[in-house]
């Protein structure tokens, strides 16, 4: 299953972007059911806590190799652009203890929220990732506008294209990447 997920993911990361917007798609994070989850230390958080910042919402798991590849980059993004208004928030679809150990070992400097496999799959679907492929990243603008979502590794190029303009007070290019359930 994981091998397949990795394969799907490898394919997904090569998929051409942007994808077209589906008609009737919700395009604002704050119009979705609130995302409320405990973090790796058991403290409950709502995604709305970070409203007003540019949120890079990253779904991952410790067993997912591509997820582990992108995490050092996400740490660097948070460190460099956190003071400018970026907030990386991750949702680990995994065992809390594994996530906590991993976060400590690698020095993750942003919140890691926790959810189980079944709930995680539903959450992914709700956020537009029907195949349940990891990693999966959503960029939410300061006003909640969903700017970008993509399965596969979120790289620096994506950051420069979709996140940095928002931090500089510009509109992100209109990529039409938001393909999700209404």
């Amino acid at each position: 299953m994981r091998v397949w997920a990795g394969f799907v993911l490898a394919m997904a990361s090569m998929m051409p972007l942007p994808r077209p917007v589906q008609s009737g798609a919700v395009d604002n994070a704050w119009e979705l059911p609130p995302l409320i989850l405990p973090d790796i230390h058991g403290q409950e958080h709502s995604l709305h806590e970070w409203a007003g910042r540019v949120i890079l919402l990253n779904f991952w798991a410790t067993w997912c190799r591509p997820c582990r590849i992108e995490i050092p980059e996400l740490i660097a993004f948070q460190e460099s652009y956190g003071p400018l208004g970026l907030q990386v928030v991750s949702v680990g679809i995994d065992d809390q203890r594994k996530l906590r150990n991993y976060a400590r070992s690698i020095g993750i400097n942003y919140p890691v929220l926790v959810t189980g496999t079944t709930a995680g799959r539903e959450l992914l679907r709700r956020w537009g990732n029907r195949a349940g492929v990891l990693p999966f990243t959503v960029v939410i603008a300061q006003d909640g506008h969903l700017v970008f979502m993509r399965e596969g590794i979120f790289d620096r190029e994506a950051l420069e294209t979709y996140v940095l303009p928002l931090l500089q007070g510009q509109r992100a290019p209109d990529p039409g990447t938001v393909a999700r359930d209404p």
């Binding site: 998929m15 077209p20 594994k98 996530l99 150990n101 976060a103 400590r104 070992s105």
Partner: protein
């Protein structure tokens, strides 16, 4: 972020040394910048980078960082000990002059040939690109379907690579004047029958390591494969492909392995030795009885006695376990603890289980966890395995037993210096 949780670890050396290591659990291969020396073996150094690289290429790599700090430290410690052992064996191999032996030279040559050919094939694959025109056509036909576009590109590359490879083999055969004599395979070949030859190489019948004259197609395929390997290796050599790092790694592994093989021949000269060892250690073949256990744990003896009475009067063990057990797992699973091998429980419980019949509830057993009632639901009897069933395990056990004092002996010749004094917790150091 819990970065201060530096784990402490006690490593009991096979050499009788005791070292307490503090390893930074967050250390990662890519994060190691300065080559911190962890140990010296003779003149060789083992650095934190060596350790992390070894860990990252081990099967545990995927889970390592998800483990608790102490467990991570234990694994790092074990790996460091293995690296030290490896160094001891490597240095002994050099001292024994094993790098001058024909076996070593032969294995190095074979590995080099295979590696060069493999690298040349990779280079060849890189030469295949999807032409702009073909790519445009694929994109046009499969508009926006990323997966299908990628699959179509891969299929194109695979086909083109196959054709390019076949063409290149023929070109190289011509360049190196290779002549192949497949017909000789059907003419009662002898070990020194030449099946192919070219500039600076020959393939003999004895080089075909598997297959038999009864299955000539397999032998033809093997011959083709060998010819391909040799011409690619030659082309790789001419292209000056860089294989130095892999060769060095292989050289060290091979030498260490050769020392172990030598000792193995000395310690286990024949199968009789293994049989004798098995007879002296029958426990190696002992398969413990497995029992499906039900359990209730409560906080007081009175309650345990009361529940026991109720069970004896006909109430369900499982229902009561679900209602009263203070053990979270047992409560959740209505007391069903699953299949457990004999000897795996706490001593008090093991001893109570000993005289118990299937379906019979035990007396109240007191342990530090509380007051237990246990019951064996079903059991699979234990048995003694035969030598034939576990020959490999017997060999490993004997090797392990012999290897410990041997490494200790090597450590006297190539002294080990642990260079982690700064990290030793005095209170944790014990003399062994």
């Amino acid at each position: 972020m819990d970065m201060n949780a530096a784990p402490f670890l006690r490593v009991s050396r096979v050499f009788g040394l005791a070292v307490t290591l503090v390893l930074i659990a967050s250390l990662q291969a890519q994060a190691v910048s300065a080559p911190q020396v962890l140990a010296r073996v003779g003149d060789a150094e083992i650095t934190a980078l060596d350790l992390e690289q070894a860990l990252m290429s081990s099967p545990i790599a995927d889970q390592l960082l998800t483990l608790d700090p102490k467990e991570q430290a234990r694994i790092r410690g074990d790996m460091l000990v293995r690296l030290v052992d490896f160094q001891l064996l490597y240095q002994e191999a050099l001292a024994l002059g094993l790098d001058k032996t024909p076996q070593f030279q032969r294995e190095m040559t074979n590995f080099r040939t295979g590696l060069l050919a493999q690298k040349y094939e990779l280079k060849l694959r890189d030469e295949v690109q999807v032409p702009e025109k073909v790519d445009a056509r694929i994109r046009e036909q499969l508009k926006g379907d990323g997966d299908a576009i990628e699959a179509a590109r891969s299929a194109y590359v695979a086909r083109a690579y196959k054709a390019l490879k076949a063409k290149r083999v023929e070109e190289l055969k011509e360049r190196y004047g290779v002549k192949v004599y497949p017909e000789r395979l059907e003419q009662d070949p002898k070990p020194d029958t030449v099946l192919a030859e070219g500039d600076k190489f020959r393939i003999y019948y004895r080089d075909l390591v598997f297959g038999s004259p009864e299955r000539p197609m397999e032998m033809y395929d093997q011959l083709d494969g060998l010819v391909e390997l040799l011409v690619f290796a030659r082309a790789g050599l001419e292209a000056k492909l860089d294989i130095a790092d892999q060769m060095e790694e292989f050289r060290r592994d091979l030498l260490a392995r050769m020392v172990v093989d030598r000792k193995k021949r000395e310690w286990i000269p024949d199968r009789k030795t293994l049989v004798a060892y098995f007879q002296a250690h029958p426990e190696l073949g002992r398969v413990a009885e497995k029992r499906e256990i039900a359990q209730i744990v409560v906080a007081t003896r009175e309650l345990a006695e009361e529940l026991r009475k109720r069970i004896l009067q006909g109430e369900s063990f499982y229902k009561l376990a679900k209602e009263y057990s203070i053990d979270p797992y047992g409560r959740k699973h209505a007391g069903q603890m699953g299949w457990l091998p004999e000897g795996s429980g706490m001593p008090q419980i093991e001893s109570a289980l000993k005289g118990l019949k299937d379906g019979q509830v035990s007396q109240v057993i007191q342990t530090p966890k509380g007051f237990h009632l246990v019951m064996i639901e079903r059991r699979i009897p234990g048995r003694q395995q035969t030598f034939g069933e576990i020959e490999d395990r017997v060999e490993r056990a004997l090797m392990q037993e012999k290897m410990a004092p041997y490494l200790q002996e090597l450590a006297k010749r190539y002294p080990i210096q642990w260079t982690m004094e700064d990290h030793v917790e005095p209170s944790d150091v014990q003399a062994h």
